[in-house]
């Protein structure tokens, strides 16, 4: 870790209106994540873990407060600007992989590169490199239905890495995997953090998974319970 701030949440509030009720998820939440950090976010259901991930990934906007990424505000971006920002800066890894069933592993990994100006040869080179990194070079032409859960998650990691984002957001990445496979995936994430310097925020229910992170934040009722980690 360099100590340089990658993400900063300042007085972020998030409220949802459901019928006549207003549900407050966060109320003036603060958080700083330095470059190269690997943060595990734990907490009971409904504590706001996923909403936090949505805000960090720019797929949801705060009701109040400011979110800065690499020194620039992202909470003020339009939907189109956010889409571009996500494509360049954030890689997503989901619990259920969310691969495109109609595309092979290589094509799934290539997807984010359609948003770049890379030519076909460069895209192929990058896809091969990403699949090799996750140990699936030989499964490039396989479809998701032809792969195990662990392999699908590795393809999802390759897809998240392909555009070389600074931030990886993982939503229960091992929630659907057995222990051994989960450990493989977590070790891979740890490697990406330590060797490639990727900043990772991982939501998990699994204390074993959290051990792979550099630190763990506990969320409860929209508040971090470890005060020393809150900005």
């Amino acid at each position: 870790m360099t100590g340089q701030t990658l993400i900063h949440l300042q007085d972020v509030s998030k409220r949802f209106v459901k019928g006549k009720d207003t549900i407050t998820i966060f109320d003036h939440l603060g958080l700083t994540i330095p470059v190269g950090d690997f943060v595990a976010v734990m907490g009971p259901s409904g504590s706001g873990k996923t909403t936090l991930l949505n805000l960090l990934g720019g797929i949801d906007q705060p009701t109040e407060g400011a979110i800065t990424f690499d020194g620039a505000r992202v909470d003020t971006l339009t939907e189109g600007q956010l889409a571009r920002w996500r494509a360049h800066n954030v890689g997503f890894i989901f619990q259920f992989y969310n691969l495109m069933p109609t595309l092979s592993a290589a094509r799934n990994v290539e997807l984010p590169l359609l948003l770049t100006s890379f030519g076909r040869a460069e895209r192929r080179r990058r896809v091969e490199a990403a699949l090799s990194l996750v140990g699936l070079a030989e499964r490039a032409s396989h479809y998701p239905r032809e792969m195990s859960g662990g392999q699908q998650q590795r393809v999802a990691i390759a897809r998240a890495l392909i555009s070389d984002p600074k931030l990886l957001l993982c939503d229960e990445p091992t929630g659907d995997l057995d222990r051994a496979t989960a450990d493989e995936i977590l070790a891979m994430l740890q490697l990406l953090n330590r060797e490639m310097g990727k900043t990772i925020v991982m939501v998990t229910h699994d204390p074993e998974a959290a051990k792979y992170a550099r630190r763990t934040l506990h969320l409860d009722k929209g508040r971090f319970t470890e005060r020393d980690l809150v900005a």
Binding site: T50, I59, G80, F92, F94, L103, E110, L111, P112
Partner: protein
Amino acid sequence: MSDLYLLWRNLFRRKLRTFLMMLAIFVAFVIYGVLGSINYAFEHGVDSVADNRLVVTNKITFIQPMPFAYVNKIAAVKGVKNVTYASWFGGYYQDPRNQIGTYAVDPESYMRVYRDDLRIDPEAHDTFIHDRTTMLVGEAVAKKYGWKAGDRIPLNSNIFTNKADGSHTWELTVAGIAYAAKEASNTNFILFQHENFNESKTFGKDTVGWITLETDSATVNDKVAAAIDDLFANSTAETNTQSEKAFGKAFLAQLGNIALIITLVVGAAFATILMIVGNTMVMAVRERTKEIAVLKTLGFPSWRIWRQVLGESVLLALLGGVPGLAVAALLVTLLAKGVSGAIPGLALTLPVTALGVGFMVLLGLITGFVPAWTALRLNIVTALGRL
């Protein structure tokens, strides 16, 4: 990989469903192609006639004859250049099912008025004018029955009786073949001498079915038509003078309003397809809600996904519609041979094809609009169930 590849893979994710949708579109465009071509051939055949030709018929109905004396009176009207006349014979060959458009005409004046529409060998032309027992046979009829110059053909009428022997048969010699000078002209006809017809029929003597005239210019058509109808006002056979185009359309209308029938049939086919394909496309995109949300999460802009979904439905319409038009072209070609020129210019023409492709794109855009809009508006958080 490109957006087109993505689109293609999505379109064929459920092959049977896509195939059935393509089949439905295919059938709709076969119907459109065949009926549209027939309609175009009828419309275009009528439209191709000269602008300065008028047709005078009995005001009651054009199947009611008029006195022969009208011909000379009309010829004397100011603005009339050439006049000819004809009568409907109701001809058929051997079997009443073998109907042939048979007209008794005045050869010289008829050839003068229709000089730009027919191409006739000079020898055949002379024979037809000078020999009262001859007939000119349109190319389509000659081809169908294998007739050639010099053949003697017993031609039957389902209206008139030949006073020579009390039969319904007139034996006529083929003077030659009449070819269409314009592609869209009908050659499913027989012309024979009105003088011969007038003398040999048992009733309706000295009458004509209709009188065709050329005006000095199309600009005086209205004035000439009004003058002719005024001339015979309050007579026993009042007249109705109209352009030959209008007359042709009125004649076709006897067969029913072809354009309306075709529009209704094609419209019904398209409306059905619209509902089937539209509904299926909505379902197809709905079951991909999560994938669309993932694409948006990866950074795909909403408009690009909107374009994908619309492109998918347009491609589907083209994949079903283009083969449909191709098969329609084949069927129309076979049909054109089968009817032996009865519908001149019957072919899948460029305008019909272009309109068909336009319909495909429109069909794709309409059926894709709702799912594309849904995809455009899709909220990632809701779609991924991440609240």
